[in-house]
């Protein structure tokens, strides 16, 4: 695997909501097979960045490149077809459908055949160890299973880039370990490049090859986990805040 292959690049992104600058001149790139972390305090613009990359809404300024190709005013479904899949910070299950059916909706991206989609969905569920829950409806699932189901659904589209928005936060320690293991498993077995937004620092440090730190829409640091955890600006604006709040 060539580490220098860039699968996704966002250049000089700016996003304004009225007078508020949610993202301010932020660029990122994702290497093939990499797990990239996007961290920062609440309101830093992490999820906004995901929404721009996934095509939920356009950036005010800046450009998105997938495999070196400029994506012009992307819409969600077009980004999905280009191989970008995502999960949501606040889960969005198809609550009347079962876990299997939810996953099949993803699998239908690459097939028109119901049986093929069902087989593909079962495969994914087996990889994520969710096959036991296949027939449970979205509305009857616990939070951890909802989060795993969203990952299953996204993976069923056979993405090359996966955006995971806080799949670990909100879970108990057992659940966390399970999902951390799942994420590194996905990278290894499926060769998917991943960006994660996460507040659970232990998980970020363990999983990520590189980390971007955002604060108020601006990049304040970029680097390997160890560099980040000792970075003054990061401790000031993010890691330190927690300790302060705890006192």
């Amino acid at each position: 695997m060539n580490e220098r292959d860039i699968v996704l690049e966002a250049k000089k992104i700016e996003k304004r909501f009225g007078g508020l600058k949610a993202i301010d001149d932020f660029s990122l790139h994702l290497y093939k097979g990499e797990i990239l972390g996007l961290i920062g305090p609440n309101g830093a613009g992490k999820t906004t960045m995901f929404n721009i990359i996934a095509g939920s809404f356009p950036a005010t300024l800046g450009e998105i490149y997938v495999d070196g190709k400029l994506v012009n005013k992307p819409q969600s479904h077009q980004m999905a077809r280009m191989g970008v899949a995502r999960t949501y910070q606040i889960v969005r299950p198809f609550s009347n459908l079962t876990v299997l059916e939810n996953t099949m909706v993803g699998a239908f991206l690459n097939t028109g055949n119901t049986e093929t989609a069902r087989r593909k969905a079962r495969e994914i569920l087996a990889i994520l160890k969710l096959e036991g829950k296949a027939d449970i409806r979205g509305k009857d699932l616990t939070l951890i299973d909802l989060k795993r189901m969203e990952v299953a659904r996204a993976l069923a589209t056979e993405p090359r880039i996966l955006l995971l928005d806080e799949v670990i936060a909100g879970l108990n320690p057992t659940g966390r370990d399970m999902v951390i293991e799942m994420i590194s498993g996905i990278r290894e077995t499926m060769g998917v490049s991943i960006i994660i937004i996460e507040h659970v620092m232990k998980a970020v440090m363990k999983l990520c090859d590189r980390i971007y730190v955002l604060n108020q829409g601006k990049l304040i640091a970029e680097g390997a986990p160890l560099e980040i955890s000792s970075n003054e600006a990061v401790i000031q604006s993010y890691l330190g805040v927690k300790k302060h709040a705890e006192n």
Partner: protein, 350 residues
């Protein structure tokens, strides 16, 4: 497998009953109720594809039924086109109109979409009331359009024996049930239901939401337009008041909601129970207590929404499902690791 064959047996029984039923009576008015029941079952099943599966709660369905009816009627009166072809033309025209309307109303969501469809009803009613002659053809204006009686003929879809209308309506119902059944197990059906529950999540999985909404609306409008053609052939009279008022449109939607949206048989079953019930009430109490049928209808609707918000059929099948699952194993539904901590900021624990 066992469950499937059991369902098949029920379907066969229902079909056999439907076939035999009109031969059990000589009463013209009872037959009339049967035809109307089949027709409404057809309308509501047709609506179910866009309104049920794709979740687009359109209230202006009378538009498509009305367009189909007027096209069929006018082609028959002015150009002597057989209603069999007329209803196809009506269906196709209604479907094309639905694409035009959908491309701007589908940008609206939820209640706003429903309200926009109501506006379309009013527009069409006023337009046809004000324009009696269009291209020199007599649409009847507010007085209504009466089709010419040319004597009993299959080609003109004019019969004295109401049983024939019944079987034609039954045939249409079968077509729409097949369309629903096929939808429920196809890629489109999965996409429709995904759009219904969470549009944004559907888009993130590559579903072109607009395209699939239009597709659902197209199928529903096509079928409803064809049904409109049957409507005019059966009643031999339509006017703007019956086609474009709320009753026809609301009934179509309500039966699907009561029976169970996005189930193949729910809407048709509800129609088969509610239409005869409504007609009987109207017959026996219509003169003594004119408001009673509507009152009871309202009560049924309230009770359904209160106790079975998903509709009767899903409610029953879920009950059965639960009971079966309970018998199989008394395991808790959820995994061993429930619970969630509140999300903290910068969770640096150990």
């Amino acid at each position: 497998m066992k469950k499937l064959s059991k369902n098949n047996v029920w379907m066969l029984i229902a079909f056999a009953v439907a076939v035999i039923l009109p031969n059990t009576t000589k009463s013209s008015s009872v037959l009339q109720i049967m035809v109307v029941t089949m027709m409404y079952a057809f309308f509501t099943t047709a609506w179910n594809i866009s309104g049920g599966y794709a979740g687009q709660l359109g209230l202006g369905n009378g538009v498509y039924i009305g367009i189909g009816a007027y096209i069929t009627g006018i082609l028959f009166n002015e150009l002597h086109v057989s209603p069999w072809f007329g209803l196809l033309a009506g269906g196709v025209f209604a479907a094309i109109i639905s694409l035009g309307m959908g491309s701007f109303t589908f940008k609206l969501q939820g209640t706003y979409y429903s309200l926009a469809t109501v506006a379309l009803l009013a527009i069409l009613r006023i337009f046809l009331n004000e324009n009696r002659y269009i291209m020199g053809w007599d649409f009847g204006g507010p007085a209504g359009l009466k089709t010419k009686w040319l004597g009993v003929s299959f080609q003109n879809m004019q019969f004295m024996d109401k049983r024939i209308y019944y079987y034609i309506a039954l045939g249409f119902l079968m077509i729409s049930l097949l369309a629903c059944w096929h939808t429920s197990r196809s890629k489109s059906g999965y996409y429709f239901r995904a759009i219904d529950t969470n549009q944004e999540a559907a888009a993130s999985l590559g579903v072109n939401v607009m395209q699939y909404k239009l597709q659902a609306q197209f199928i529903s409008a096509l079928l409803m337009g064809m049904g409109g053609g049957f409507y005019v052939a059966f009643y031999q009279f339509i006017d703007t008041e019956t086609m474009f008022n709320f009753e026809l449109s609301f009934q179509t939607m309500l039966m699907a909601v009561i029976g169970g949206r996005a189930t193949v048989f729910g809407p048709a079953v509800a129609a088969c129970l509610l239409i005869p019930f409504n007609e009987l009430l109207r017959r026996y109490f219509g003169t003594a207590l004119p408001g009673l049928p509507m009152l009871l209808y309202g009560l049924i609707l309230m009770a359904t929404i209160q106790f079975m918000p998903q509709g009767v059929i899903p409610f029953i099948s879920e009950k059965l499902e639960r009971r079966k699952a309970g018998e199989r194993a008394r395991l808790p539904i959820n995994g061993p690791e429930p619970g969630a901590e509140t999300k903290g900021e910068a969770n640096t624990d150990e």
